[in-house]
């Protein structure tokens, strides 16, 4: 059966609403994807029948909550083909996952050690490393970005040197939509014994994947971009890598024993989950990943590629429009950033909102990438399987309105 976005849309209650009395054309999925009813139901069911703290309680609710939380971990492990559930650390999002990794991997580093990242990184995969540089004096080396908006991997040979300890890159740019080919990255890392951390925030929603096969040592993603709730994220790590990492935050749940003289830490993943974790959010994430794996999205990629190409081609027909990202569908996702000559991205996004078209305008937490392209920001339309041709049509009617409003500006 051919993929039918209508079958997807009917599962997302928010898509039937009319914010401010306008039909909703939600094209801000790279920021946060919407949530299907089945995930809302799973969270509600947990909170109304299984709500309790996890791990240490012996009463029935505590055991049920623990089972639900660990069940969610198992689903995540299945989604990314982990060899064991213990490779899955729950965090509060991609940002907290990368902060954890930067802190733990950086603990033993010092002056002269090098981290390789790229100009295309989201601030979530940039600022933690800038902070590490401030703390430890490590050297950061940046892969450039091509005019097409791809990380220029031809620079790997020059940048990855003997003292490189970590290569940390986005799997897919949240601005240009370009997918990174990790084969040369992993080869370069292995040659010098560096760890590979992948920011998978934009890539994880595409469906099941195998982080280990990708060659990653660590892989981070967020719940709210994979049709789950916010406040939950994942740091997957190879068992040996996680085992060698010191804890990030201290507190309950992550220790083996504590005395006033000393503390010993638990094994991964608990070592990295101090305090009460986001339990209902983990349950929601599990439900969301189950939904993605359920077969509803079979054929969705082709549908989204077609819509993405429609957006790109229509943009190319607008005088003064500038696409920031690849102009074809080769190794890219449905994230389309663009600038319109003389229009500020916030003004574009504001006028699109008149038409119920929700896009994002600004630097998308990627200021160095904006600088690379000589821009302060872009407007960004980002797709999900529930988007339709009507959404694309509404986007361009709204863009025409923006151009009319600012003609002669």
């Amino acid at each position: 059966m051919a993929f039918d976005p209508a079958r997807i849309r009917e599962q997302f209650p928010i898509l039937a609403t009319r914010p401010m009395g306008r039909p909703l054309h939600y094209l801000d999925n790279a920021a946060t994807a919407q949530i299907p009813q089945t995930v809302i139901d799973a969270i509600t069911a947990h909170e109304t029948t299984h709500r309790a703290n996890v791990t240490r309680g012996v009463h029935a609710l505590a055991e049920a909550a623990t089972e639900a939380y660990e069940g969610a971990r198992h689903i995540v492990a299945r989604y990314m083909n982990a060899t064991a559930d213990s490779e899955v650390v729950f965090t509060y999002g991609t940002t907290s996952a990368i902060n954890l990794a930067a802190h733990a991997l950086g603990e033993g580093l010092g002056e002269g050690d090098e981290i390789v990242l790229s100009v295309a990184e989201h601030h979530a995969n940039l600022v933690p490393w800038l902070m590490l540089r401030e703390r430890k004096g490590v050297t950061l080396r940046f892969l450039p970005v091509t005019d097409e908006g791809r990380i220029d991997l031809s620079a790997l040979n020059n940048l990855v040197r003997e003292r490189c300890k970590v290569i940390t890159l986005t799997h897919c740019s949240n601005v240009t939509g370009a997918i990174t080919d990790f084969r040369p990255v992993v080869a370069a890392a292995r040659a010098v014994g560096a760890k590979v951390l992948v920011d998978g925030a934009q890539m994880a929603p595409k469906g099941q994947f195998d982080a280990s096969e990708l060659g990653a040592d660590l892989y981070a993603f967020s719940g709210h971009k994979v049709y789950g709730p916010n406040g939950i994220g994942v740091l997957w790590g190879r068992r040996d890598v996680l085992s060698a990492m010191p804890p990030f935050m201290g507190g309950g749940g992550m220790i083996r024993s504590v005395s006033l003289e000393s503390v010993t830490y638990g094994d991964p993943p608990k070592r990295f989950e101090a305090g009460t974790p986001p339990i209902a959010q983990a349950v929601g994430l599990g439900a969301a990943l189950n939904w993605v794996m359920s077969g509803y999205l079979d054929g969705a990629h082709k549908h989204m590629d077609r819509l993405t190409l429609r957006i790109i081609e229509r943009l190319q027909g607008i005088p003064g429009a500038r696409l920031v990202g690849p102009a074809n569908m080769e190794e890219r996702v449905g994230v389309v950033s663009f600038a319109l000559d003389g229009l500020h991205p916030h003004d574009i996004a504001q006028i699109l909102d008149r038409h119920g078209v929700a896009v994002r305008g600004g630097h998308h937490c990627a200021e160095p990438l904006m600088t690379r392209f000589g821009l302060t920001g872009t407007a960004r339309a980002s797709l999900a399987p529930y988007n339709t041709d009507e959404d694309v049509d509404a986007l361009f009617e709204a863009i025409e309105d923006a151009l009319r409003t600012f003609s002669g500006h």
Binding site: H346, G362, M370, G377, H409
Partner: protein, 149 residues
């Protein structure tokens, strides 16, 4: 979520004027402020007269139409005013954005153009940034703490 259309004629006319930078000779103070939410940047220059009132204002806005419009409205509002009065204008503008009170536009008629921004909370800082920059420029000119007001 805001309900009104922001881009009414008054704002668009101000924005057109504010899209081009305007510099002044021998400023007594200059300040550049960023809006961390969007990366916009406003530079405001000011010169004061013998009484300490604002004699002239220059601006360079790398920002949206609201920010551009605000920079022009700021020049109209602040010329001939003391720092105390400019602080009062900033307060009035903040209240007008938040509460949509007519009272404030009577006191500061040039600012009335921004009533249409009421309810669009994510855009308030776009309007306020030039005013904040002027106050920092004044503080800098006085050799004071140029921290963000």
């Amino acid at each position: 979520m805001g309900g009104k259309d922001i881009y009414e004629n008054d704002i668009m006319e101000l924005a057109r004027a504010g899209s081009r930078p305007r510099y002044i000779d021998a400023p007594d103070g200059t300040a550049t402020l960023d809006n961390p939410l969007c990366g916009d940047r406003v530079t405001i220059e000011m010169r004061r007269d013998k009484e300490g009132k604002i004699a002239d204002i220059g601006h360079d806005v790398r920002g949206c139409a609201l920010c551009q419009a605000s920079a022009v409205a700021l020049a109209d509002t602040a010329r001939g005013k003391s720092p105390v009065e400019i602080n009062a204008a900033l307060s009035a503008l903040q209240k007008m954005l938040k509460d949509d009170h007519e009272h404030h536009e009577k006191a500061w008629p040039t600012l009335a153009a921004f009533r249409s921004v009421h309810g669009h909370k994510s855009r308030y800082e776009c309007v306020l940034l030039p005013f904040r920059a002027l106050l920092v420029a004044i503080s800098e000119g006085e050799g004071g703490d140029a921290s963000r007001p």
